[in-house]
Amino acid sequence: MTPGEIWAAWLFALFSIAILSYLWKITIVYRLAEAFSVGSLTAHVVITSYTGSIENIGIIPIISGQYVRIIPFVLGLLVFARFIRKYGWLSRYPTAILTGVGIGVMFGATFRAQIIAQIGNTVSAFHELDIVGAILTLVGMVTVLSYFIYTHEQKGPLGISAKIGRLFAMFSFGLNFSAEIVYYLTVMVGILIILYDTWIKGAILGQKRRLSLS
């Protein structure tokens, strides 16, 4: 391993172990590593937001003649008016534009993508060989939807449907929970692999190992 790779392996180990020391107890070592992480990520957000948005979409087009971009540029600067109590209301204008655009891009397409397509997919499952699965999917969809009806008291047939919907939802939450825990497990195992391969075997024992992150 090159000196740079050895340095990298030691840094990786240092920061990983500092954070994982939380498992023993919260110490100043953990807190310092956490503060470092937040500070570095904050700088990263500043650099990428400025480069990708303000410079790429704002400054460079304005300089090259797209003067219409001056309007959103000024609106973006108005966001900082919130720091001045007397003029804080000015920041409502860029917020309004962003909110309007955000809801606007979502509004029209929701009906097709999240409602019609989903119902269509459920019905088209009946064309497949697995009829039992298709029936289960349809029953699950209808009963879970009935569980979300709050404008009517959940009694009688609606109550039974809502109870079945709850069972389906809980089963799904179980699947989600298991997927979540496997996800965190693989993140942890990924760290252990890098520590073992590059730090212990590479940097400490001097065996030839590729730094996994390079």
Binding site: G39, F107, L145, S172, V187
Partner: protein, 218 residues
């Protein structure tokens, strides 16, 4: 007039823009002006979002500055704030030192070897919190908790190679359970979310959705 400028016009702006986007969604492709304006407005949104992110950073910087300079915080909090500023300024300096910005070799090196391990390790801690939480609370007390437990165990064993290795039927069964029972439930949730999104959009259209503007004091 003051109330109009400070409150009603922004709410009206939200409604007008939402209505415009709805019209644009249904407009034929031949209405090029409407589509072009929509495209330009989305770019405006991306630009304003960039400013909002930087604004959020300013809030964080202000918090740490006050922690250092003003508040009666313990020495550990002050040292953490110093480390925060040191990391922030160091990364900022390296990032802006070359025209390539974050694509530069030096920045890439420090980002990979300093931020990545801390970020990953913080995420990895969640595994242990899941284990602690599961151990303390995951008891089979009712039909619902039994349903959660059953779903969790089946899919957990399916996800790792060891499950299908010892129980070969687990692979097709786990996939079947995922794409039938689970899909039924999540599809119901997706449709419910879609309906809620439509209602939110409609409320925005008629100017009823004002919570976005409430955070600013007049």
């Amino acid at each position: 007039m003051s109330r109009e400028i400070k409150r009603r016009i922004p709410i009206g702006l939200i409604s007008v823009i939402t209505a415009f986007f709805l019209i644009e969604y249904f407009a034929a492709p031949s209405f090029t002006v409407i589509h072009s304006v929509k495209g330009e407005l989305t770019v405006w949104g991306a630009l304003i979002a960039g400013f909002m992110l930087i604004f959020g950073v300013f809030i964080l910087l202000r918090h740490h500055f006050l922690q250092l300079a003003v508040r009666h915080a313990g020495w550990q909090d002050k040292v953490c704030s110093i480390v925060f500023f040191a990391a922030f300024l160091a990364f900022l300096a390296v990032g802006f030192s070359t025209p390539a910005r974050v694509a530069g070799a030096n920045y890439r090196w420090i980002y990979q070897n300093m931020y990545t391990p801390t970020g990953s390790a913080i995420l990895a801690l969640c595994f242990f919190w899941c284990v602690y939480g599961g151990y303390r609370t995951f008891t089979i007390k009712s039909w619902e908790s039994a349903a959660i437990g059953l779903g969790a165990v089946i899919y957990m064993l399916r996800l790792l190679p060891i499950g299908p290795y010892y129980i070969p039927q687990l692979a097709p069964f786990g996939d079947w359970v995922l794409s039938t029972i689970n899909v039924g439930a999540t599809r119901g949730g997706t449709i419910a979310v879609g309906i809620a999104a439509l209602i939110l959009g409609f409320r925005t259209l008629i100017g009823k959705e004002t919570s976005v503007l409430e955070a600013t004091k007049e």
